[in-house]
C-alpha cells in the first residue's frame, strides 16, 4: 500500500487539475479543498496520538487573518504564506504548552475553548477586525509578479497543490520517523515512553506545533482564495468540519485528508446546488455511511480497491 500511495497521489492530483481545467468554477472549490486538506493533515497528526482537537479552526482563522492584516503592508503571497505558518506555529506552541498536559475529551474541549476565545476576539474587537463584516483581501502579486484575476487564481491553485504534495511527503516521513512512531505510542502506552526516557509531552507538543503550522498555512490559502476573511473561520462548526473531513477521508495515510476534503467540498457544492435545503443532511448521511460501511474512510476504500490495507 505504501508503495502505491505516491501513484494514487499523482492520480488524485491529475484528476484535480483536469477538473479545474474542465470546469473553471471548480477551480475555486478545489483550491479550498486543497487548503482544507493541508489543515486536516494537522488533525491526522494528532489523531495518531489518539487525540482529537475540536478547535483547530483557530489556526485556520489565525493564518487567514494574518494574510488579511499583513496584505496591505507585505502584499506578496509568497511572503505571507510562511509568515502565516510561523505565526500559527508560535501560537500553537503557546497554546500547546497548556493543552498537551491533557488527553482525550479534555484535550478536545480545551482546544475548542481556545478557538472560541479567538472567535469572540475577532467578533468583538471591531476596531481592528471589522467584526463579523470581516476583511477583504485584494488580489496581490505572487513572488513579485502582478497578476490578473485568472492568472492569480491559477497561481494560488498551483501553490496549494504544490504545498499539498510537499507537505504530504514530509508528513509521510515524519509519521514513519521515531518522533512519529512515538506519537503513535502515546495512543497505546504513553507511560512506557516515559520509562524509556522519552518525554511524551514533548513528542505531542512537537506534533501540535506542526499541526498548528499546517493549519495556519491552510488558513492563509483560504484567505488568498476566498479573498474575504470573517470570524466564522474560527467558529466551532469550522473545527468540527476539519474533524469531519479527517474521518471522511480516513486517518490511515496522508492522502486521507485530501480525499476527504475533495469529497467534502464536492458533496457540499453539488448537494447545495441540487437540494438547497438539504445539503447538510446529505453531508451528514455521507459521513454516517462512511462510518458504518467504510471505517477507514475514502482512503480505506481506495486502499481496499487496489488490494492493500489502509494502514
Amino acid at each position: 500500500m505504501k508503495r502505491i500511495e505516491p501513484i494514487l497521489a499523482l492520480a488524485l492530483a491529475g484528476a484535480i487539475i483536469a477538473a479545474a481545467v474542465a470546469a473553471p468554477w471548480l477551480r475555486f472549490v478545489l483550491t479550498i479543498a486543497l487548503a482544507k486538506g493541508i489543515a486536516v493533515m494537522g488533525i491526522l497528526l494528532l489523531l495518531r496520538a489518539g487525540q482529537v482537537s475540536f478547535g483547530h479552526a483557530l489556526y485556520i482563522a489565525f493564518g487567514a487573518y494574518t494574510v488579511a492584516f499583513l496584505a496591505p503592508r507585505v502584499g506578496d503571497a509568497v511572503v505571507l504564506l510562511p509568515l502565516a505558518a510561523l505565526g500559527a506555529g508560535a501560537l500553537g506552541l503557546l497554546i500547546g504548552l497548556f493543552v498537551t498536559r491533557y488527553r482525550q475529551i479534555f484535550f478536545g474541549m480545551l482546544n475548542l475553548a481556545m478557538s472560541m476565545v479567538f472567535y469572540s476576539l475577532l467578533e468583538k474587537l471591531y476596531h481592528f477586525t471589522k467584526g463579523s463584516d470581516g476583511i477583504r483581501v485584494e488580489i496581490m502579486p505572487v513572488a513579485g509578479q502582478a497578476l490578473d484575476r485568472i492568472a492569480y487564481e491559477w497561481t494560488i491553485f498551483g501553490i496549494a497543490l504544490g504545498l499539498a504534495f510537499a507537505l504530504g511527503l514530509l508528513l509521510r516521513l515524519y509519521l514513519a520517523s521515531p518522533m512519529g512512531e512515538a506519537l503513535a505510542g502515546i495512543k497505546t502506552r504513553e507511560t512506557r515512553l516515559e520509562f524509556m526516557g522519552v518525554p511524551a509531552r514533548g513528542v505531542l507538543l512537537s506534533a501540535y506545533v506542526l499541526s498548528a503550522m499546517v493549519g495556519g498555512l491552510g488558513g492563509a490559502l483560504i484567505a488568498l482564495t476566498s479573498r474575504h476573511v470573517t470570524p466564522l473561520l474560527a467558529y466551532w462548526t469550522s473545527s468540527g468540519e476539519l474533524v469531519f473531513i479527517a474521518i471522511l477521508g480516513g486517518a490511515g495515510g496522508v492522502l486521507g485528508p485530501f480525499l476527504g476534503a475533495t469529497a467534502y467540498e464536492l458533496i457540499r457544492v453539488y448537494a447545495a446546488a441540487s437540494f438547497a435545503d438539504a445539503w447538510q443532511m446529505i453531508l451528514g448521511a455521507s459521513l454516517l455511511l462512511v462510518i458504518l460501511f467504510a471505517p477507514g474512510g475514502v482512503w480505506g476504500m481506495a486502499a481496499r480497491a487496489v488490494g492493500g490495507r489502509g494502514r
Binding site: M179, A184, T191, F195, M196, G197
Partner: protein, 258 residues
C-alpha cells in the same frame, strides 16, 4: 561482586495504613541477580516503582553508583542506566514487535529526528539482533496485541534491554507464562543478561526459578526485609518457608499488582 550498584537506605513508603516499605536497607551488588520474593502486597513492586522514580518514598533514599536518585523523574533515571520491565507487559499495541524494540533503541539514541525512518538500517539491525537473542525473530513482524503471554513478557523485557541498562528491574518476569515455557524463557533471559553484563533485580513467585537463577534472595515481608542471602540458605529457612512458600501453595488471592 563486592561493590554496590544500587543502595537503598531507610526507605519508607506507606499507602494509607499499609506499609509497603518500612525502613528498607538493601544493596544490589554489581553483576548479581537478586530475586525479591514475598507474599502479595508486601511491597516488592513498590521497590521497583521507587527505584525507577514512579513513586517517591516518604523517607530514606536510593543511591545509584553513589549518586542519590530519589526525587528524579522516571525519564532522568532511565538515562542513568536503570530500566524496568512490567508485570503486565507495556507494549505499544498497534506496533509490531520489531517496531517496539526499535522504538526503545531510538529512545536511547535520540528520538528527535523527524525525517529519517524509525526502521533505518542501524535501528532495525540492532532491534533484530536483540530479538534474535531473545528468540523472538519469528514474531518480529507480529503486532504486539496479537502475542501470547510468554512472547509479550519477553518482548517487554527485550524493550528494556534495548535501552542498554546497567541495572534491570523485572517485575515478575515469569508470571502468566505457561509452566512448560517458564524455564526456557528464564534460561534465555539469563543468558541475554549475562552476555550484556546487566545487573538484575527480579520480583519472582516461582521458587524453582529463584533457586536456579538468583545469586541472592531478599524476602520482603510487611515492608521489611525478613531475610537476605543465597537461595539455598534463605529458602531452607523454616520461617521463610512458612511465610512465603507456604502462601504460594495456596494461590487463592492473586492480586494483579503484588
Amino acid at each position: 561482586m563486592s561493590e554496590a550498584l544500587l543502595r537503598a537506605t531507610g526507605l519508607r513508603l506507606a499507602f494509607g495504613g499499609v506499609r509497603a516499605a518500612d525502613g528498607i536497607d538493601l544493596d544490589v551488588m554489581k553483576g548479581e541477580f537478586l530475586a525479591i520474593i514475598g507474599p502479595n502486597g508486601a511491597g516488592k513492586t513498590t521497590f521497583i516503582n521507587m527505584t525507577t522514580g514512579y513513586l517517591k518514598p516518604n523517607a530514606g533514599e536510593i543511591a545509584y553508583e553513589g549518586r542519590r536518585i530519589t526525587g528524579l523523574s522516571p525519564r532522568a533515571i532511565v538515562k542513568l542506566g536503570i530500566a524496568r520491565s512490567f508485570q503486565l507487559p507495556q507494549l505499544f499495541l498497534e506496533h509490531t514487535v520489531e517496531q517496539n524494540v526499535a522504538l526503545a533503541v531510538a529512545a536511547r539514541m535520540g528520538i528527535w529526528s523527524p525525517l529519517a525512518p524509525l526502521l533505518r538500517p542501524s535501528h532495525r539491525d540492532e532491534a533484530r539482533d536483540i530479538l534474535a537473542r531473545f528468540g523472538l525473530t519469528a514474531i518480529a513482524d507480529s503486532r504486539a496485541d496479537a502475542l501470547n503471554e510468554g512472547a509479550r513478557k519477553l518482548a517487554d523485557i527485550a524493550m528494556a534491554v534495548a535501552l542498554k541498562p546497567r541495572l534491570l528491574l523485572m517485575d515478575e518476569p515469569t508470571s502468566g507464562v505457561a509452566a512448560s515455557e517458564k524455564m526456557t524463557i528464564v534460561e534465555t533471559l539469563v543468558n541475554v543478561l549475562r552476555d550484556a553484563k546487566v545487573t538484575a533485580v527480579f520480583v519472582e513467585h516461582d521458587m524453582d526459578v529463584v533457586e536456579r537463577f538468583a545469586d541472592r534472595v531478599a524476602v520482603w515481608s510487611q515492608g521489611r526485609i525478613a531475610a537476605l542471602g543465597p537461595p539455598a540458605e534463605v529458602l531452607a529457612d523454616p520461617a521463610v518457608q512458612r511465610e512465603v512458600i507456604g502462601i504460594e501453595r495456596h494461590p487463592t488471592k492473586e492480586a494483579p499488582h503484588a
